[in-house]
């Protein structure tokens, strides 16, 4: 026991804060991440985290609590991305990329100006990689509140979100404002990502967003179960990571703590790889039953269940949310415009 839980683990204030905040982040990211993976927006999720860095460094420059900087930049970027993003997948990726590039440039400037002013050299490291043991206890209520808001938004949208993720055309035909749903969802994503950025760092919040949910979606096809499993995996991974990081003080090199993010990331990868080992059964995904039954009426170009190669015959778009419908070749460069 002594080796597993180093002395003073649970009596330390920062550790308790870390465990609490870690739990909030893991659950929020886990639930929202399921939609991120389903919608194929991993890149947007990661970019929002990176862009939140810009807000974080801006806040650092102005001298406000970094959490607000993360939040404002994240939500603003989400809106811009959805606004200029072409609705097609590739165009969306490029729009995301360009917004991200500009934001990172700003981050570089803010950090540079910040270090000029205060001569605090550790700032870039803190902003990027986070410091879960150095959370100001005063921000904890705000963290929990924004996590709850993000969860509520996604819960309220859950059905519509699933529909727009699985089949945007069908959703549109039913009169759903796909774009509005997209913006609301990205805003919720931005909130949850900013939260994670504070806790384990902007860059590594991606790990908690994508890893557990990708793992969960490998294990189950029911969206509700996937969300629960994803939250659970995220929670376990985060707590184990925190405990290990605390223990690592006694590991070589002596008297030096290993970063929490390192442990979290390694555990997340292990979970994902392990879930890949599970043999895929031939089963009709439950997620699909409802949606696909209706989609069939709208007449897909191909029957949904032609087995291709060694791929098990599950209906398209569900496991991944990929829009694989081949676009007709136009012009000489595939899709003529981005």
């Amino acid at each position: 026991m002594h080796y597993l839980f180093a002395p003073g683990l649970f009596s330390s204030g920062p550790v308790r804060t870390a465990l609490l905040v870690g739990a909030v982040v893991a659950v929020t990211s886990g639930v929202i991440g399921v939609f991120t993976v389903l919608r194929g927006q991993s890149f947007a999720g990661h970019s929002l985290a990176d862009i939140a860095t810009t807000g974080g460094s801006g806040a650092f420059l102005v001298g406000v609590n970094q959490f607000w900087g993360f939040l404002v930049a994240g939500v603003a970027a989400a809106t811009v991305m959805e606004a200029i993003g072409v609705q097609r997948r590739r165009g969306r990726d490029v729009a995301t990329g360009v917004v991200l590039g500009g934001a990172l440039g700003l981050a570089a400037l803010f950090l540079y100006l910040g270090t000029l002013r205060t001569a605090t050299t550790g700032a870039s490291f803190t902003v990027l990689f986070g410091s879960i043991f150095a959370i100001n206890p005063d921000t904890v209520p705000a963290l929990i509140a924004s996590g709850a808001v993000a969860l509520l938004v996604v819960a309220a949208l859950a059905r519509v979100l699933l529909l727009t993720s699985v089949s945007p055309d069908l959703a549109r035909a039913r009169g759903v404002n796909v774009r509005l749903v997209g913006i609301l969802y990205l805003a919720a994503l931005a909130v949850s990502v900013s939260l994670a950025s504070v806790a384990i760092g902007a860059v590594l919040s991606t790990a908690l967003l994508i890893g557990p949910s990708a793992t969960a979606l490998r294990l189950t096809k029911s969206p509700a179960r996937a969300m629960a499993a994803s939250a659970l995996v995220g929670l376990v991974v985060t707590w184990v990571g925190i405990v290990l990081a605390y223990d690592s003080y006694y590991w070589p090199p002596h008297g030096h703590t290993w970063p929490v993010s390192f442990f979290v990331v390694v555990l997340v990868l292990a979970c994902y790889l392990l879930s890949n080992l599970r043999p895929r059964r031939r089963q009709v995904p439950r997620l699909a039953e409802g949606a696909m039954a209706k989609t069939a009426v709208v007449s897909r170009p191909q029957p949904a269940s032609i087995p291709r190669g060694d791929d098990p015959p599950h209906p398209p778009d569900v496991r991944a949310g990929a829009r694989t419908t081949p676009s007709p070749p136009q012009g000489s460069v595939g899709e003529a415009h981005v």
Binding site: F43, G45, H46, V94, A108, L204, T206, A320, A322
Partner: protein, 272 residues
């Protein structure tokens, strides 16, 4: 501004821009923007690892960039749902490399300025010894893309036709990822991990929004990348602000100009 040490900067940055323009064109065309972000970003961890071990940074970059490319290419799989799985695997590869980077940096007691330089670039300290490997790697990467130009084009534009002709999309994907890794590993010490990506995507996306012809688009992409880098160096030299800021913002501005030009030139009905 063009004296001895700065000359190295100009040469190295120009090589970087040309390669970024070419590689970026295909990255945008193939929809591998995320990979173009993940590989340089993750390679930063290699730089941190190399300085922890006390070896030349470029080896660390090379190992991590190519390792990341292999991870993305091999785990990505193929078949249905490939795109989204690709996304997930790319995100995970990125995150794992960055996690290692965090570990290396924290173990290495490295100065924060060095981390900052790896991430955001340090273009004004290029020594003559550093210029040569950059030029060599640049030529290799450009040649590698030139050799595989046709299969790259075909698998990007009409994957179905490519498959029908017996070209494995997956193998071409992997090939391109590795070339991108090569191109990346030389550039990270110059423009920085985070902004190598802007240099690849901004100019290429701008070029593609103006023209649909591959040859013209690629040339335009290179020209815009060169213009971005040269402008950035000049401005950064004058203002002393970080180069990365100018590269990121100018790249985004070029993209917006491209979008605007397209809207003005050919107003198309919004296809939603």
């Amino acid at each position: 501004m063009f004296s001895g040490l700065m000359l190295n900067t100009w040469i190295a940055a120009s090589v970087v821009a040309v390669v970024a323009g070419i590689a970026g064109f295909f990255a945008v065309l193939r929809g591998q923007t995320f990979a173009a972000h993940a590989i340089p970003n993750g390679a930063f961890a290699g730089a941190a690892g190399a300085s922890l071990l006390g070896i030349n940074v470029i080896w660390g970059l090379l190992v991590f960039a190519v390792g990341g490319a292999l991870g993305i290419g091999l785990l990505g799989g193929e078949g249905r749902g490939r795109n989204a799985r690709h996304d997930v695997v790319t995100a995970l590869a990125l995150v794992v490399m960055l996690g290692l980077g965090a570990l290396f940096v924290s173990l290495g007691n490295q100065y924060a300025e060095e981390t900052y330089a790896d991430l955001f670039g340090e273009v004004f300290g290029v020594s003559r010894g550093e210029v040569l490997p950059i030029v060599v790697l640049g030529v290799v990467a450009a040649l590698a893309i030139g050799i595989a130009f046709r299969p790259l084009m075909l698998t990007s534009a009409v994957p179905e036709v490519a498959e029908a002709r017996g070209i494995s999309t997956r193998r071409v994907d992997l090939y391109f990822l590795i070339v991108m890794a090569l191109a990346t590993s030389m550039t990270v010490p110059i423009v920085g991990a985070l902004l190598m990506f802007s240099l690849m995507i901004g100019p290429a996306a701008a070029a593609r929004s103006v023209t649909a012809r591959p040859g013209t688009a690629m040339a335009l992409s290179v020209v815009i990348a060169l213009a971005t880098v040269w402008l950035s160096i000049a401005l950064s030299y004058q203002t002393n602000w970080p180069l990365g800021f100018f590269v990121g913002v100018i790249g985004a501005v070029f993209y917006l100009i491209g979008l605007a030009a397209r809207t003005v030139a050919a107003p198309r009905p919004a296809v939603r």
